[in-house]
Amino acid sequence: MRATRRLTVAAIAAASALSLSACLASPEQGGEAAGPDDPIVVGVSLPLTGDFAEPGKGVQRGYEAWAKHVNENGGLLGRQVELVIVDDQSNADRVASDYERLINQDGVDLVFGPFSTRLVVPAAQVAQDYGFLFVEPAGAAAEVFEQGFDNLFYAAPAIADDHYDHLAEYILALPEDERPKTIAVASMDDPFAQGTAYGLRDQLAEAGIEVLVDEVYPPNTTDFSGIAAKIADSKADLLIVGSQYQDGVNLVVALQQQDYQPQMAAISGAPTNAEFPAAIGDKTEGILAPTGYTPTAPYPSNQEFVEFYTAEHDAPPAEDEANAWTTGQVVAAAVEAVGCADPSPECQEQLIGWLKENEVETVVGPLSWDAQGRPQSAHLIQQYVDGEIKIVLPDDVKEADLVHPKPAW
């Protein structure tokens, strides 16, 4: 423990020293004007190691694919795009100093956001201090939008609380005898996972559905049998889980071990992961999950994205890659419309102003934002039907009918 604290102190000291020297160095660096042939440099800090390494790498793949695609198609404003990606080790102190350095020392023209709420908030604060536009691919928790940022835009269809809106609507429209009467909730102690799960819980609880179990577990939990015992004991009709990945898998297996059979299981996070069916085996049938992205979504630019990405990586993109690509699309739309891409406050202000007023066509559908940067759509709801995850809500883009009650797992 003590060793960790010393390390933290050392890291903070190093970070402050860095940012101090960065501040001192900035006046000399900011003066150079970029020529028309210079590339547009985009600075990003991502969690490439540490707790968020997996999604962080997904975002990296998305950003890199986007940049490559742009460059192969004539660039932005006729200039090539160059990404500078640094690793923040999933550390919130690091991410702030990273953006300081990118903006101040490296003199990047634009910045893109990192992954996860915990890193987005400190990063957005730095961008705000320098007047930079901050479009981010993964900070969906409510608190991101309550910090008073006016430069932030979340490049996904909906914030966490609204992910389940389509499902809540569906459940409340069910006839009385088919509607679940009791709920069991379990969520990771994480603003994003909780936001998603509690969005659905609160809408249903308000409509009079009774919450029997409401569990929160720390991110490092590996043994879920205790939580499963409580949920199984409650025999709730509807199971709501807010998970990242491994926790969702472990909880579902633990529930199956205790033979808990809900009528409906809504699990955010884990099920949309490509490895989920392999981890759970043939027991995924009927599991519902909100998703901000699926390669089969019928939006115009999505097909192009899926084709390009699949050709590059031999695998279709997942949500992290798609949100990164969306971030690129959103910034690119603003840059093309305004006609500038440089770190000057005037240009950044124009970019921010344009996004506040306009809608952007993206791979996750058309996006527009409120004043705090909340996107104004809802997530698609997917369900495992006949062994495959398919869109079941909303009706206009569905690939299969929602199965209710779900088959036993």
């Binding site: 190691t49 390494a53 997996e54 102690d189 569990e215 929160v216 577990y217 720390p218 490092n220 939990t221 590996t222 043994d223 049998s225 205790g226 939580i227 015992a229 409580k230 199984a232 004991d233 990945y245 491994q246 898998v249 472990n250 297996v253 633990a254 199956q256 071990q257 205790q258 033979d259 490895e275 392999a278 981890a279 759970i280 085996g281 027991k283 797992w409």
Partner: protein, 294 residues
Amino acid sequence: MTGALFAQSLVLGVLLGGLYALLAAGLTLYFGVMRVVMIAHSAFLILAAYLAWYFHERTGIDPLLSLVVTVPLFFVVGYGMQRFLVSRLRPITLTTMSVLLTFAVALTIEGLLGFVWTGTQRRIQLGYSGTSIEVAGVSIAVVKLVAFGLAALSLGALYLILRRTSFGRALRATTQHPEAARLIGIDTDRVAGLGFGLGLATAAVGGTALALDYTIYPSLHWHWIGPLMAIIVVGGLGSIPGAAIAALLLGVAASLLQVPLGTTWAQTVFYLALFVTLMIRPQGFFGGRLAQRF
């Protein structure tokens, strides 16, 4: 709390406690024999879990069979680690320096696991992963039962080795009084090496048991080492029965406390027990001076 939930939690606690008991037994063995604090014990545990997963991934054969390879392998690695690394530390600072050394070993293992198999969480998918048997309204997962069985068997074997073999006697003599043991002709260096190997072999068994029912990732070992360290202190450093009893009690306590307190707070029972032990009975509850004898 309903009766059914209480019974279920109790059973889960015993099953978990069994696994803790095996893992803590290895940890307390190192300390007993050599006064070594083995931070890397749980890293080897995760390494064994990865080997079991990889074995299953490659061959499709039940991961339990990987024990045939990992147990002897870990025994040899443990022996080598003691003879070539740990024994090179100066005896006077052995305990403190061993923390540093084994911390480094743990980081190395974690790094290598991440390097070879990336940070992606892995899970063995078995036909019987979600299967359970029901006894008097309590579901007992087959994988947990297998893990518990493995733990019980290994603990039993460890007990027999220490009690019934001449090596076991030599090991206990070395634990009790190394100098006296040397005087009566025990090669304490060799015994210590073998003891270390034995401890690491239990990590191989524990890791395989763990892989049956848990998702694994390289940094998972940090979540295990804390409770395990607490268990061996509560049980009395060096005392294997003490570690086993403390593991079972704390495992059951954590499982039962989870019902009213939730997961976050239930975990603190290990550390609370540690604090209480240090305050009122620093030599441990079940070992004490007896700890030196076994």
